[in-house]
Point group: C2
Chain length 206, copies 2
DNA sequence: GTTTGTGAAACGATTCACAGCT
DNA sequence: AGCTGTGAATCGTTTCACAAAC
């Protein structure tokens, strides 16, 4: 498959959300212009983004909402369930485990780990927090595709390495460090400090 | 000031974090190549990014770590404190209020609001959760520069509008919607569903 | 000899504009 | 007549490569 820019994938995800709204409102078809104006982009951008994956529209008519929703779900790989391990049972991990959008999109948290003896053994949403010492045993018995790293910065790289060695294919990283992984593993880092600093920059330079 | 790309600002923020590490390790100077290899970019990129703001380096020698840290803090506007209102007292809001990086970077949460009577009146990190009904009175008495929107999607736009009317200059938005604001207001949206979907896409298409 | 700062070249993403289909 | 799909043009960002500074 051709290489698609990350910005394109992000917009596809946005279109999907907008289309779900159109669907709720009972719309049968939608034009690239309608999607664009709701999504803060241009109609040409919408058409080009979609055209990477095929021609889903009808000239003179627009796109079938239902069909486009199906196609986007398929393109984004949302038809299946992903098994997720949460590495770190702090505040953010806790918020994520309870986040409905997580499960809604097919991401199922099946295990949680921490180093803190005060947290180990506690039950979270029906899952027991386990010691990171058991990481290897547990993930070998119950493999996962995705690990969410929600640990302090200094522990993140070592735990990432252990997860990768256990066959994890993707990392969602909330620790403020650049993780090093083999090429075949996908990493997505969400760095709150960085977001704050871009806000600060924008507030300062105007 | 010339318009700087968002991607550039994000890298500056990254360089600052790396430089703080170099500083801890006692390094006096650092080359663009050293910064680049730690940060996953190229030396030319580092030099170009910095050159937008002046010539901070010495040819043959590199950059003074201490000076560059100071200059980057200044460029990013991190010398001052920002007053922040947290709109929504759910799980994510709770995690954010307790996030040390928030205060470390000069972002001080001074009020928290929610609609849920079960939450109103509770104390969080020394702050009392207030009813959103008091938003106007409270923010007029104690103005803030930044509002963090941590509400369900359907409440986000209305609350954003009220904050903007009260003089808020920047919005950090965790609700999965595109917010509409006047041009002079900065919005940064962190959309977890979108991050998950780009992961899902990457896992599917390989 | 080393490393910066920066024009010029290469690359990539967005926008334009229109032919072609419904 | 209306709207898509897409090459071509434009715009923005990254990389190259080298002269200038230390």
């Amino acid at each position: 498959m051709r290489k698609i820019a990350e910005s394109t994938v992000r917009r596809l995800s946005l279109y999907l959300r907008l289309l779900e709204e159109f669907e709720e409102q009972g719309a049968e078809t939608v034009s690239s212009e309608a999607l664009a104006s709701r999504g803060g982009t241009t109609s040409a951008q919408v058409r080009k983004d979609l055209s990477f994956f095929g021609s889903f529209g009808k000239r003179g008519l627009g796109y079938s909402v239902g069909e486009l929703v199906r196609r986007l779900r398929e393109i984004l790989g949302l038809g299946r369930t992903y098994r997720v391990a949460m590495i770190g049972a702090g505040k953010i991990g806790s918020a994520l485990v309870q986040y409905r959008g997580f499960r809604q999109r097919g991401f199922e948290v099946v295990s949680i780990f921490d180093v803190d003896p005060a947290k180990i053994g506690r039950s979270w949403n029906g899952l027991t927090v386990q010691s990171v010492v058991s990481l290897e045993g547990e993930l070998r018995a119950h493999p996962v595709e995705i690990a969410v790293i929600v640990t302090p910065a200094d522990a993140a790289q070592a735990l990432t390495g252990r997860c990768v060695a256990l066959g994890v294919k993707a990392i969602l990283n909330f620790a403020p460090v650049q993780l090093t992984v083999p090429d075949e593993v996908v990493v997505k880092t969400v760095n709150l400090a960085l977001e704050l600093e871009t806000l600060s920059y924008a507030l300062t330079n105007r």
